[in-house]
């Protein structure tokens, strides 16, 4: 049995990855600093959304009951949760397995799930805009369009990052540099799924209660 020392929180590459495992400590810590500052931004957008509830904030415009679609929120939740699992499979394959295919296949599935998620979300936004419920309609809708599309933008950035990483795997193979970048993309992807828990609970479920 090899001895295992965790260099940083989260999934470690493990000592059998040599230099990449040693470099991971500082890189992953730096990425956690970014994630936590991002969490502060999301937290304050959540707080803004919560204060923008009720008839006064809706300014006579449509409220959650008229705008939100529970079925679509449920589908988006399942897509994002499954993509977290498939990214986890890619991380584990990178850590334990040999060859490129066991890493690439779940990453492609993750990308597909992420893009499908964005498709459903954009469809929802389009439906709202078609009803005249844009961000300029009321304080409630400004807060909604500040919070939920901000998460959507993050997922978009994650999908672009994922495509870049697939290209880098194709060009460089699973080099140390590529492995360290995938490690950080994995943290980012799982982090976005945690933000989504807040969105479906506070925005969609609480909005459609009662």
């Amino acid at each position: 049995m090899t001895q295992f020392e965790r260099k940083h929180p989260g999934l470690n590459l493990g000592s059998h990855h040599g230099a990449a495992h040693d470099q991971a400590e500082a890189l992953v810590f730096g990425f956690w600093v970014f994630l936590m500052s991002d969490l502060i931004i999301f937290g304050l957008m959540f707080a803004t959304y919560i204060t923008m509830q009720g008839p006064m904030a809706e300014a006579g415009g449509p409220g959650p009951a008229q705008l939100y679609d529970l079925r679509s929120a449920w589908i988006q939740t399942l897509l994002l949760l499954t993509s977290s699992l498939t990214f986890g499979l890619a991380s584990l394959a990178m850590r334990h397995k040999h060859g490129v295919a066991p890493v690439v296949v779940p990453l492609v599935v993750t990308l597909g799930l992420g893009l499908t998620f964005l498709g459903f979300e954009l469809h929802d936004f389009q439906g709202m805009l078609a009803q005249g419920a844009g961000p300029g309609r009321s304080g409630f809708l400004s807060a909604f369009f500040g919070l939920v599309p901000l998460h959507g933008l993050h997922v978009t950035a994650g999908c672009i990052w994922l495509m870049v990483m697939l290209a880098q795997i194709a060009v460089f193979g699973l080099s140390d540099m590529v492995k360290l970048r995938l490690l950080r993309l994995g943290l980012f992807w799982h982090f976005l799924d945690i933000i989504w828990i807040g969105i479906f609970s506070i925005v969609y479920l609480a909005g459609l209660t009662g």
């Binding site: 049995m1 090899t2 001895q3 295992f4 020392e5 965790r6 260099k7 940083h8 929180p9 989260g10 999934l11 493990g14 000592s15 400590e25 810590f29 956690w32 600093v33 936590m36 500052s37 969490l39 502060i40 937290g43 304050l44 959540f46 707080a47 803004t48 919560i50 204060t51 009720g54 006064m56 529970l70 929120a73 449920w74 939740t77 399942l78 949760l81 499954t82 977290s84 699992l85 986890g88 499979l89 584990l92 850590r95 334990h96 397995k97 943290l187 799982h190 982090f191 799924d193 945690i194 828990i197 807040g198 479906f200 609970s201 506070i202 479920l205 609480a206 459609l208 209660t209 009662g210």
Partner: protein, 103 residues
């Protein structure tokens, strides 16, 4: 220092996390869809299940727990949560109080 976990063990951990998250999501969605509980109770279930699910995601997907961590990383996360609690509860409290006084 401890033995390195193998692929099978870590895969099982991801799958346990996925199933737990699925259940923790399905229950509040089901409650809202059916309206089985009173609104206030439903909100309570949504809140509690969301908090548990955040912990599940941290534990099984991000592999953060309270043991065997490099302490500065854990301090970073806990400090961020503290800042958020102060800012968010402060903001919601002040705005709710203001809103009450305006009626």
């Amino acid at each position: 220092m401890k033995d390195e976990p193998n692929y099978r063990q870590e895969l099982r951990s991801y799958l346990i996390g996925f199933v737990l998250a699925l259940v923790l999501t399905a229950v509040p969605f089901g409650l809202v869809a059916t309206g089985a509980l009173a609104p206030l109770q439903t909100l309570g279930v949504i809140t509690v299940f969301a908090l548990i699910q955040v912990v599940v995601h941290f534990r099984f997907f991000l592999h953060i727990d309270l043991s065997q961590q490099k302490r500065e990383d854990l301090h970073l996360i806990l400090f961020t949560v503290l800042l958020l609690l102060i800012m968010c509860t402060g903001m919601i409290w002040i705005m709710a109080s203001l809103s009450e006084r305006m009626h």
